[in-house]
């Protein structure tokens, strides 16, 4: 194995996913489905363990393995472990018909493979490979209920727009390769910092950022978000919003040197997303779309922290020990914990056609456990204490202020204040509105209720002890 050893986690997960895909058609029974679910969970756990094991003790920044494909830097490994945890959570929380279990769990594992490649990519080709493995699994997961019209529509929409974005990304990569003569991100970084960038390199990085903006759904490239979020299965929507975007953010940490030249583009992405996402959410009555707009705003908050970079500034006023990148890590964890649960809970509640606020009425009485969990998740998304989302925002904004940005955190604070309105609207409809004549239909198994409850407890516990996330990060 030699220096290919660090590729072991990716191999385990990809081969396991293939294995499960082959097991799937054996028999349509609940036993097989449960068996596949536990095997998938085992594979994710084995991958995470291998990931930690092979990277243990490699502390030098951005060492390259497998002929320079992946990095073993601690931050990236930690990101990968978090994404595997989101996959494991989804395997437990998702509902799937018996006959499709093989495909479903297999695609979730392939999605995880894409995420851990993308999160640890040290090479432009690895970025593209990880991104496409991730995206192609997502196309299938979004269109999974292909007998439903909306599901197919969402799938094709995401596919065409993500393909469009990949085109920009790849063309940008080709231009960057042309200028610097290498695909290694670390070498590109050295060369880019040493010399003045020519126009071709600037265009290349610009195209790259357009592609990334599409994938992250930052305003003005956010148009696909509400439609796709609405039409995917609830648990998949949570993954699109949390870890698939998070993997993209992790992949671009080595590109932070771009802040020297392209910071204004990221600044604009952040500001427009925070304003646009929160304003667009105000008038919406379909719940999943409200959270879709809120996810646009959240990308704005994350990019604010991203602008603060990975160095500590000397004259930091607030929380001086937290760099922008660490704040981003904290936020990705906090946001994933909240949004996964929120979308999964909405997935369990059946609406007439699209789930509207009206459909939430009476859920508080019908299924108090689920409604209470949803309350906590939404509370955390709104960024109210003591939930973990509150500290996430504090760290992001203080990192940005420390780095010398003033307007951006201010816009972020105003945006969050506006956003509280639509989050509270969800809570009001859950608990305080009289139910309509027909009872809302809620389908959640006991296992799923326990998973939701565990997640809600985690959101509160991480909010009470936010240091836990940083100690987790330091453990790598």
């Amino acid at each position: 194995m030699g220096h290919y050893q660090p590729l072991l986690p990716d191999l385990i997960l990809a081969m396991g996913a293939t294995f499960i895909l082959l097991l799937g058609p054996l028999r349509d029974s609940q036993n097989l489905r449960d068996f596949l679910r536990w095997i998938s969970l085992g594979l994710v756990a084995a991958t995470a363990a291998t990931l930690v094991w092979v990277n243990h003790g490699m502390a030098t920044p951005y060492p390259l393995v497998g002929e320079g494909w992946l990095t073993t830097a601690p931050l990236h490994t930690a990101f990968a472990v978090v994404f595997l945890a989101t996959i494991a959570w989804t395997i437990l929380a998702s509902t799937v018909p018996d006959e499709d279990a093989g495909e479903w769990y297999s695609m979730l594992l392939f999605l995880g493979t894409g995420m851990i490649i993308l999160a640890r990519a040290a090479n432009l080709a690895a970025v593209f490979l990880g991104l496409e493995v991730l995206s192609i699994s997502l196309y299938i997961l979004i269109a999974f209920r292909y007998s439903k019209r909306s599901s197919l529509r969402g799938g094709i929409m995401y596919l065409l727009l993500a393909g469009f974005a990949s085109g920009f990304l790849l063309f940008g990569m080709a231009l960057i390769y042309a200028v610097f003569g290498t695909l290694q991100i670390a070498e590109i970084r050295t060369l880019a910092l040493a010399t003045d960038m020519g126009p071709m390199a600037k265009v290349g990085f610009g195209l790259l950022l357009v592609g990334v903006g599409f994938k992250l759904a930052a305003v003005p490239f956010h148009m696909w978000t509400p439609e796709v979020y609405e039409s995917s299965p609830g648990t998949v929507t949570g993954l699109i919003a949390s870890s698939s975007k998070g993997a993209m953010l992790a992949a671009f940490i080595p590109f932070l040197f771009l802040l020297e030249t392209h910071w204004s583009i990221i600044w604009l992405f952040a500001a427009l997303s925070m304003v646009g996402g929160n304003l667009l959410g105000l008038r919406e009555i379909r719940v999943k779309r409200i959270l879709a707009y809120s996810s646009i705003a959240h990308i704005g908050y994350v990019l604010t922290g991203y602008l603060a970079g990975d160095t500590l500034s000397a004259n930091a006023a607030f929380l001086p020990s937290i760099t922008g990148v660490n704040a981003v890590f904290f936020y990705v964890v906090a946001y994933a914990a909240s949004i996964l649960g929120a979308f999964a809970a909405l997935g369990y509640i059946q609406g007439e056609r699209d789930l509207t606020l009206r459909d939430l009425r009476g859920v508080g009485r019908r299924n108090p456990v689920l409604a209470f969990c949803l309350l906590i998740f939404v509370w955390s998304l709104a960024g109210l204490p003591p939930a973990v989302g509150f500290f996430g925002k504090i760290y992001l904004f203080s990192a940005a202020i420390n780095a010398g940005y003033f307007w951006l955190p201010l816009i972020g604070l105003l945006g969050s204040a506006i956003g509280i309105y639509y989050y509270l609207r969800i809570i009001v409809h859950l608990f305080m509105m009289p139910a309509d004549a027909s009872d809302p239909k809620v389908h959640a198994s006991t296992l799923q209720e326990w998973v939701m409850l565990g997640s809600a407890v985690a959101v509160i516990a991480l909010g009470l002890f936010p240091e836990t996330i940083f100690s987790f990060l330091r453990a790598f």
Partner: protein, 114 residues
């Protein structure tokens, strides 16, 4: 006109890329858009291969001298494979779309409403 050099490939790549973008923006047919996406990806491929051929920087001069100059071409092979996977999934979805709606015009709001 001198012999064919790097800039010819660059211009070809740029033209194909722009054609792809125009195709995506102007077309409504899902297969048409898919073809335009492939055009964009292959424009990038042409660039990658041309740069790989014309750049003179070996990537692993000490460990793998025979692999020098190859990384752009290897990247292009990855892109071709991934584009094929994407097309396979896309065509499966488009086929189902056609069965359900009787059309593959993607932003036909009336027919595509659930």
């Amino acid at each position: 006109m001198g012999p064919i050099g790097l800039q010819h490939y660059l211009v070809l790549g740029a033209i194909l890329f722009v054609l792809g973008v125009i195709g995506i923006v102007s077309r409504k047919n899902a297969v048409g858009i898919l073809i335009s996406i492939e055009l964009m990806l292959n424009a990038a491929n042409i660039n990658l291969i041309a740069f790989s051929r014309y750049s003179n920087k070996p990537i692993f001069p000490t460990t793998m001298p025979e692999a020098a100059y190859m990384d752009g071409q290897v990247f292009a092979i990855f892109v071709i494979i991934l584009a094929a996977c994407e097309a396979a999934v896309a065509l499966a979805i488009i086929l189902n779309l056609f069965n359900m709606f009787g059309t593959i015009e993607v932003d036909d709001a009336d027919t595509m409403r659930g």
